[in-house]
Structures are given as structure tokens and as C-alpha cells.
Amino acid sequence: MTAVATAHGLTKRFGDVTALDDVSFELAEHTIYGLLGRNGAGKTTLMQILTGQAFASSGKVSVFDAPPVENPAVLSKVCFVRESQRYPHVYTVRHVFRTARRLFANWDDTFAHSLAADFQLPAGRLVRRLSRGMLSALGVTVGLAARAPLTFFDEPYLGLDPAARQLFYDRLLADYAEHPRTVVLSTHLIDEVSDLVERVLLLDRGRLLLDEDADDLRGRAVAATGRAEAVDGFAAGRTELHRERLSGLIRATVLDGLGPHAKALAQTLNVELEPLSLQQLVVRLTVPPTTTAPADREAAR
């Protein structure tokens, strides 16, 4: 695996707030990453630091074997599409395409225009007059057509309707197949991208909770439903993330419960197993322990 970016002990503080706390990972060449986590988990900050837009408080970041800050050689291979990207007041969609063509070495004008047509972007309209969805479509178009070897999409779907999002995923996959690169996709619509992403980075309150293959993660957690003693027996020795009571039955979310041995055990105990989707797993992992659902409080009594 060739690493295009590495972070080591990366920490970012804003006054009292620690936005990123000792984060270490590598981004491999030609891989699509899902950067997941709740609002305020540190996703945007992480991408800003990797693209030299923000400065780390401590730790080491290296992109294409060099620090990204103020490094034209590195930044020429990087594109960061920010959800909150600000555009100059006087810019039209056409101006954005024109400037992108001059500034991104791999820019594909034909591709950009075909994407713009797909998303029905009005070339002559001022960017500040675009709707929320159109603004997202503009960002997505720039990010795809720039064909940067390392591309970050920060919540690119905001305001896009489901059809437009599907269009984005399709075009991303098709172009990725022809022009492999490293793509980092930060998103809350985890189930939508779960077939797209190959590896998952999960941030929670500034800490890196997971850095795993998406395929492995999909099989990691199960919901085990059955009578209390049966579920207890199944969950014994396994990590339990969550438990709720459902009309006399107990449903527990358990890690590593999908192996052949686990399946046999579940059958013996009459426990029903149901694999958890990536989104459900992320929710279970990042919900703060203090907020307990009513069902849980009942179960705890």
C-alpha cells in the first residue's frame, strides 16, 4: 500500500476545545474513504489541515511525502470541496469553471461540462444566486473534474435531492474506475455511501474511533434478539454496544457476532441475529453514553 497522506499524533485545539485529539492514520493510494462522525467530531478540521488550509496545534501531517502547508507541489495534487466554500460575490458558474481550469493541472473541461449538464447548472448565473442544491452540484462538479490525485468532499450532498446524489455517486464511481485516485468523502448519509466507500475513518469528539475496511465493518456488529437469559448467554465475552427491551424480548447490539461459531451458538440459544448496517453501527458507536433511550432505562430497572 502506498500512502498518499499520513497523520501522526495530529491534535488541533481552538482555545479550550480540542477539535482533534492525537489522531493517526494513513490514506492509501487509489482508495475511496468514508470520513464519518457526528457534527463537531472534527471531520472538516481534519480535512482543512490535510489540505494546508488550517494549521495543526501539534502532531505531524504529511501529504505526498511533504507537509501540505504552503506547499504548491503538494497542493497541486489536492482538491478540497468544502460544503461551506465561499465564492467571490461577482462570480458566475462559468467563472468558477474558468478559474478551475487554470488552477487544476488535471482539469477536464469536457467532463466538467457534461457534469454541469447532468446537474442542470446554469452557466451564466451568479454563484450567490444558486440554490443550496445547485451550490452543492457546483462543488461536486469542480471536485470531480479537477481529477486531483487526492480529493476531499466535505458533505457534498447537502441540498442535493436523492436523484442528484445518485448521479454524483454514479459519476464518481465511473470516473474513479477510469482515473483511480484517493477520494475522501465526509458524509452523514452513511447507508447511501456504504457500497461506495472501501475504508471507513470514524471520528468521535476529535478522536479516531475506527480505521477499518468497510467490508469488515459491515460484518462486525449484529443485533441479537431473544429472551434475556439467552441474549446474556450470547453476549457473554463479546462487546455489547447497546441493549433495548422489545415487548418482553431483549435486543442487544454486539460486536463480532457473525462468525460460524456465533451463529451456531445463537441457534442453540434461540437468539435471532441480524447484521447491523454501517450507519446503525456508527450510530451505536458515537451516541454519547449519557443519553439513554426510554426503552433502555426500562431495561436497566
Partner: protein
């Protein structure tokens, strides 16, 4: 250099507005000046110097500030480094200053040819420039423009780093420092010496030499500020 030129072109879509607003303000000032000169006209008065050309200053400073604050966040998003952005904007400052200076030289020539607009109003020319040769005249307009543009860029970078509070605090500090300096000069009875020093300077030094140093100081300040700016 090619990259710097490409980055500088980020400003192109804004040019109609930048040029339009700056010169519209000056045109309005010109009109009002001319009207008031006409209202008080007395053929025996000779030529009145209004110095109205300073109305250009506000536009030049303001447009430079707006251009930095508007386009920097976009440039950063397009994988441009802060250094590239600053060099590009410094290049734009030089080009714009020379172009504006050429226009001012031309307007000054028209002013003289038309007998000061027919009403004895000197708007674009300044009395101490009367003996200047063409090169010095051009520099005399271009270098102060460069100072103003870099002041505008500096204010823009202050805004990028610390927002409105940063700009206002810096202006307050500057006015305080200048006021205290003036008080100190009065206190020590140095105004006369300063006046003599100014008179001893050559026109070249006054119009172009010292202002270049001021522009350079602003430029260094802006560069240092922008290097740590975030969008």
C-alpha cells in the same frame, strides 16, 4: 511566474466593478468640484487647485480590501497557497497603479489643454508636480497609488486574520500612535526641522522614493499576516 499570473486572473471577473466603482467615485467628486468652482467663479481668480484627485484614494483602498477578503477564501479552496495569492495580488497592485497613473497623466494633460476645464479648476494636477519630467510625473502618480493599494491589501489581510475587530483595533492603534507622535513633535518643537527636512528632499525622493518604502512596509506586513490566515 506563470502560476502567479493564473492566480492573479482570479480577480478578472471583478475588474468591471473595481474599476467602475473607483472611477465613478472620482467622477462624482469631479462633477461636484466643478459645480462648486463654477458657482464661485470669478475670472480674476486664476486657477483653483481643488486636490479632488484624493477622492480616488478611498476607492483604491476600499476595492483592494474587498478584493482580498472576497477572493482569498476562494483561492485557498482552489488549492492556491497563501504565498501565491499574495504575490499575485502584489503584481495586480503594480499593474493597476501603473494603469491608473497613465490615466491620471492623460487627464492632467487634458486638464491643461482645456484651460483647466474652462473654469480654472485644477483637479488632477498638483502644484508641486509642475516641474516634473514625464517619467517622474508617472512615478509621482503610480507610487502613491501603490502605497494605497498595499494599504488596502494590508487592511484585507488584517480582516482575514482577526475580522472586523482586528481592522478596527489596528486603525485605532495607528491613529493613537500617529497622534502621540504629533504631540511629541510639538512638545519637542521639531515641526520646523521636519519641514526643513521635507524641503531638502528631491522631488523624486518625495514623490517616489519614500512612498516606495512605505508601500514595501505595508507589503511585508500584509505578507506576514496572510501566511497564517485561514479561510
Amino acid at each position: 511566474m506563470n502560476r502567479i499570473r493564473q492566480v492573479a486572473r482570479l480577480q478578472m471577473p471583478a475588474w468591471p466593478q473595481i474599476v467602475g466603482w473607483t472611477w465613478s467615485i472620482t467622477a462624482v467628486a469631479f462633477g461636484i468640484n466643478l459645480l462648486s468652482v463654477m458657482a464661485n467663479y470669478d475670472p480674476g481668480d486664476g486657477v483653483t487647485t481643488t486636490g479632488g484627485v484624493v477622492s480616488l484614494c478611498g476607492g483604491v483602498i476600499g476595492m483592494a480590501t474587498v478584493s482580498v477578503t472576497q477572493i482569498f477564501p476562494y483561492a485557498l479552496g482552489m488549492s492556491v497557497t497563501r504565498r501565491e495569492f499574495y504575490l499575485a495580488w502584489s503584481l495586480l497592485a503594480v499593474v493597476q497603479s501603473v494603469l491608473y497613473a497613465l490615466v491620471l497623466c492623460l487627464l492632467r494633460a487634458v486638464e491643461q489643454a482645456t484651460g483647466y476645464w474652462g473654469w480654472g479648476m485644477r483637479f488632477f494636477g498638483l502644484p508641486f508636480m509642475d516641474d516634473a519630467n514625464p517619467v517622474l510625473l508617472l512615478l509621482g502618480y503610480a507610487v502613491p497609488m501603490l502605497v494605497l493599494t498595499h494599504l488596502g491589501i494590508l487592511l484585507g489581510t488584517l480582516y482575514l486574520r482577526w475580522g472586523t475587530t482586528g481592522v478596527l483595533a489596528s486603525l485605532t492603534l495607528t491613529f493613537t500612535a500617529l497622534g502621540l507622535a504629533a504631540t511629541l513633535i510639538t512638545w519637542t518643537r521639531q515641526w520646523h526641522a521636519i519641514g526643513r527636512w521635507l524641503l531638502d528632499q528631491s522631488p523624486t525622493a518625495l514623490l517616489a522614493g519614500w512612498p516606495v518604502l512605505v508601500a514595501a512596509a505595508f507589503a511585508v506586513g500584509g505578507y506576514r499576516l496572510i501566511r497564517r490566515a485561514t479561510a
